[in-house]
Symmetry: C2
Subunit: 388 residues, 2 copies
């Protein structure tokens, strides 16, 4: 496959915006992406688009892709909606990378969007179990937080990990989110607050759970050959991988890690020709605090059962050896499902170009994104580097 790069990236504010329609939120991300370019972007150069969204709330049950693409002024180009639960954004990016990689298109938009905060209670019940297995989990009453609670319980039991370490993920990511003017939550929390919050699904409490958010994100993917028509500092896609697993967790080999993410990471590192220790900054899928700890292990930042130790040493905090979720992650930046995988790429794009403001990881050369669908039914991992 030919080389592919990201040349522009942007996102809307993440949060609760009853005054903004989903079209406006999408356009906000698209415009922010355009403003990351030195010059103007003529939308007619975009030859295809992929939009990741679950369409929570049913704002447009079919064809949200064309609807949103036409709203931001794209031509009558192929627009495909891609859905893989909370990894919809990652799979939209994967589709865009393959489309450019094929040589069929040179300039492709990958975007994601979700508007979750004005969903009715009826719809809410319906989609809260969106990403569990309908037959074995959702209809049986297992909530989505409940699924991750089962994983957390097993992880804490198997590896003798106190609850404190889950809370440390929340504290870290809130401290990062406080530096991100587009984050849903821009305030720090203490370990005491994190540990003492109201229970959701034991051992997960309120601060172990990412919020539901409104938001969108967008990146422009081009062939590396044409990237410098758009920017002097493109971010190259060095490697990528995607994996799948059974949706129902009882069918999996293990529930203290996500096989789909392990497969995705292994493929991405093999393609990039680098190893986990080369990564300078990562955005990982911390839909629940336990998920970030499992991510450390699935990606290879830590050995099996040892991810939580990175937190104690502060290695993944800004200023540490390898900051994870400098954006605030899903926990503090917010988690508008379809937008998340794209927004992770936006953060890494900015980090690698030295444009991440107060949360800049100094001298970051290699960045990684890790986006999980549901409870691990699917995952994507991308590795990026500045093209020097």
């Amino acid at each position: 496959m030919r080389d592919v790069a990201i040349v522009a990236a942007g996102q809307s504010e993440f949060g609760e915006f009853p005054q903004k329609s989903i079209k406006e939120i999408f356009a906000e991300a698209f415009d922010d992406m355009k403003s990351s370019l030195a010059g103007a972007l003529d939308p007619s150069v975009i030859e295809a688009a992929y939009v990741g969204t679950l369409g929570v709330g049913g704002f447009q049950l079919g064809q949200p892709g064309p609807l949103l693409a036409k709203h931001v002024g794209l031509g009558n180009i192929p627009v495909t909606r891609v859905e893989n639960a909370c990894a919809s954004g990652g799979f939209a990016l994967l589709s865009a990378v393959l489309a450019v990689g094929s040589g069929q298109y040179d300039v492709v938009l990958a975007a994601g969007v979700e508007k979750m905060r004005d969903t009715s209670a009826m719809q809410g019940r319906y989609w809260l179990g969106v990403s569990g297995d309908t037959e074995y989990e959702r209809l049986a009453g297992l909530t989505f937080a409940g699924i991750y609670a089962v994983m957390a319980s097993r992880y804490m039991h198997d590896y003798h990990v106190p609850k404190k370490y889950l809370s440390m993920v929340a504290v870290k990511n809130h401290s990062h989110g406080a530096l991100n003017p587009k984050a849903h939550f821009q305030r720090k929390i203490t370990l005491e607050q994190a540990m003492g919050a109201a229970n959701v699904a034991y051992p997960l409490n309120l601060f172990d759970c990412s919020p539901t958010s409104d938001g969108a994100a967008a990146v422009l993917v081009t062939s590396l050959e044409r990237a410098r028509e758009f920017t002097p500092s493109p971010v190259k896609v060095l490697g990528f991988g995607a994996g799948t697993d059974y949706l129902a967790i009882h069918e999996r080999r293990s529930i203290t890690g996500l096989e789909a993410a392990r497969i995705a990471a292994t493929k991405a590192f093999a393609m990039a020709g680098i190893s986990p220790s080369d990564i300078d900054v990562a955005e990982v899928h911390d839909c629940f605090t336990i998920a970030e700890i499992m991510a450390y292990e699935d990606i290879g930042f830590a050995g099996r059962g040892e991810g939580w130790k990175l937190l104690e040493a502060g290695e993944t905090t800004l200023g540490g050896r390898m900051p994870v979720n400098p954006s605030g992650g899903l926990k503090a930046k917010g988690h508008p499902l379809g937008a998340t995988g794209i927004a992770q790429a936006v953060e890494i794009f900015n980090q690698l170009r030295g444009k991440a403001g107060k949360r800049q990881v100094a001298g970051a050369r290699f960045g990684l994104t890790h986006n999980v669908g549901g409870s691990g039914g699917a995952a994507t991992v991308f590795i990026f580097g500045i093209d020097a």
Copy 2:
């Protein structure tokens, strides 16, 4: 982009199957696809999969792709759900073709599925307007049949076309469906029956509307280079194109044709290097009878405002110059939304290999599929030929 072929194709029965789960219907198509191969298929050779579905009825709100892929025994490969309303299947095929075209994967599954016949009334109301613009059409009370009724009225007015010609599409496609043992409706109807049926949305009556159906379809896409590992007679993808338009029909330049389909067809013919008159057999998106007449014109089989004349001459009937919808089309074969675009490719695959049974178009060398999303918000066109 490197050359790509279809090496296996199959579909489930289309119809009403309360006794079969969506997983079973999907597996039926997958197994039928396998049986089109001379030898056995080891599912582990499949490197990625794309599943087109709207998920009507919410059988699995997120991640139906991984769920269905694991059910038929695929490995933990990347599986992406693709949605573009009734063109979900066509866009799943497009994604698979690009994925193989990129060189990243050699063997990719493209499939589609829908289970529409056991949907509750509440859900039914919700998704019946699935493919219209939610703000301007669905919430305003315009049904999906209503949208096509507006188009039909305008077409009949502009080109002075009597209602009879709409009904002739239904008569033709029912006569073809009577020859297809997997069709939802396998009986002929008379012109009198077609014209005298109960009104749905004037000028469209019951026989102008395709049914809601349960069904699935699957094709195996490989690089042309590797195609003969699977079959001595692969069907080559000669050309493809996809287009988009505003969802809301009041925003379009014209409503007597679909711009998205015109764009898709123009691109597909340019890529294939042949012209509409070279096509021997076509499967077009006759969700309503008017849609088939517009398809003739959008593809280029007839001039603007002259598509209906092909019906009078019997040119698109089996035995005519260029049979259209020998499978029975959406009207008689059935229209399980996400499966339709793939099922069209299944029919052309069989036609080009001389395996279409009683509805075989003798000596067919070039075949075309035309799949429309919603009322024309998106469309794909593929042109296929036997690789000799």
